[in-house]
Subunit: 235 residues, 2 copies
DNA sequence: GGAGATTTGTGCGTATGTATG
DNA sequence: TCATACATACGCACAAATCTC
């Protein structure tokens, strides 16, 4: 019989609560004092347990505010000095971009969190398809916060690219602050667009671009056909 | 001017010592009591700092024995030395590695090409499973060219990690020259090992590590459970 | 905007458990 | 067996950020 530390038992209990969906994304956990009281332990012991969840990426804390349920299930950083490079244009392939939809709507909770705006704030949604040699290779989706980027929708209609459109609304430079990669199944819609079978594996990337002022200006998601595309990371 | 906590300053100081090579790999750090005395702080404060280094993967601790240097990071100021698995481990979550198979055989055509050897040349194949919190998260497979790395199989048996094993056979340093990412379906075997359903999407990564002489010394492949793991790239 | 309460972060002290050598 | 060293856990105090009124 292995003896499990109290802090780990607390972490496990909380992780279980999260797994069961007893807390929603972004929701605040009980305070350390409340948890310490509930489990009948010292506040430090609770903190130790919570810190484990923070390391796992399940929870993030804000001093003075509380501990909140993180959006992502598990994140594994794989390096700080890695450049993300989409190597779509491998040897003589002609890339194209095709706009599928462009409209303005209210931000979902996840989009709002990524863009650091309030849920329901107006955003511009830009959907499209990337092709190489006339074969679809990826679906992309860019969300722009309208509160910061007035006129981005019109700019996207006029120009032919995100960079140019952002420049039109005053964002001369932006940097990608994070990229996340995971594998998912193709939904029916995605399968149709990418011309793969429903349920086929897709490589999903999500990322946020910040302006030089440090504000999020674009939340992008892409789905690559797993059997057709390989992303390469160059050091 | 930002105020840095004492524990962070201690972590930085120790990390600096490691970067300068003042401790060798495997060497024991001063005891917590000694460090607490040196820095004039409480032992808990030292522990907090050391725990940060443990999470980064720079140090590992053994109860009753001490804290030991895990790796000397020469890549701090400049450097494109991305140690894929080490960085995964740095994410914390009490990772484990479980060896599944270790044998010597002839290289397949693809392995030979990646390692720049002749097809059929003898290689060492090292298969394993990565776990976090006792849950499988990835399958890894490393192929080593025996023509360049005599005794690597025995070294892998003795040591507990690729880095240490390579050092045993004379490769003190190596660099990942490329990483490729794609999404695939889980085979029956992979599904069993990763405890997912057959056909579930997996994030597949492949990469080659070169020695400081520029020769390929390892061809690695990993399969991550797509619904459980997100790789993050930080700029 | 300001004052006070709340909540997390940091740090110290103490005690005991457990693995190591 | 015994001392050493890390691991866990409690308690106290204050700082810093946040939230509420």
């Amino acid at each position: 019989m292995k003896k499990t530390p109290i802090w780990k038992a607390i972490a496990d209990a909380l992780r279980g609560d999260l797994a069961e969906g007893r807390y929603r994304t972004g929701e605040r956990l009980p305070t350390e004092a409340a948890l310490a009281d509930r489990f009948g332990v010292n506040r430090h012991t609770v903190r130790h347990g919570i810190s484990a969840l923070v390391e796992e990426g399940l929870v993030h804390t804000r001093r003075g505010a509380g501990a909140f349920v993180a959006a992502t299930p598990t994140d594994y950083p794989i390096g700080n000095r890695v450049r993300f490079h989409e190597n779509l244009i491998a040897a003589g392939r002609r890339p194209e971009k095709q706009m599928l939809m462009l409209d303005e709507r209210a931000a979902t909770a996840g989009e709002a969190q990524a863009l650091e705006i309030a849920a329901g704030d107006p955003v511009c949604a830009y959907h499209g398809l990337s092709l190489a040699d006339e074969h679809p290779v990826a679906i992309f989706e860019s969300i722009f916060p309208l509160v910061r980027l007035v006129g981005i929708t019109q700019a996207l209609k006029k120009t032919d690219g995100v960079t140019a459109a952002l420049r039109l609304v005053g964002v001369d430079d932006f940097t990608r602050v994070s990229t996340r990669l995971t594998a998912v199944r193709a939904t029916a819609t995605q399968a149709l667009l990418l011309q793969v079978a429903e349920g086929d594996p897709l490589l999903k990337t999500t990322g946020v671009n910040h302006s030089d002022l440090g504000q999020p200006v674009e939340y992008g998601r892409s789905w690559f056909a797993g059997d057709r595309i390989t992303l390469t990371l160059e050091t």
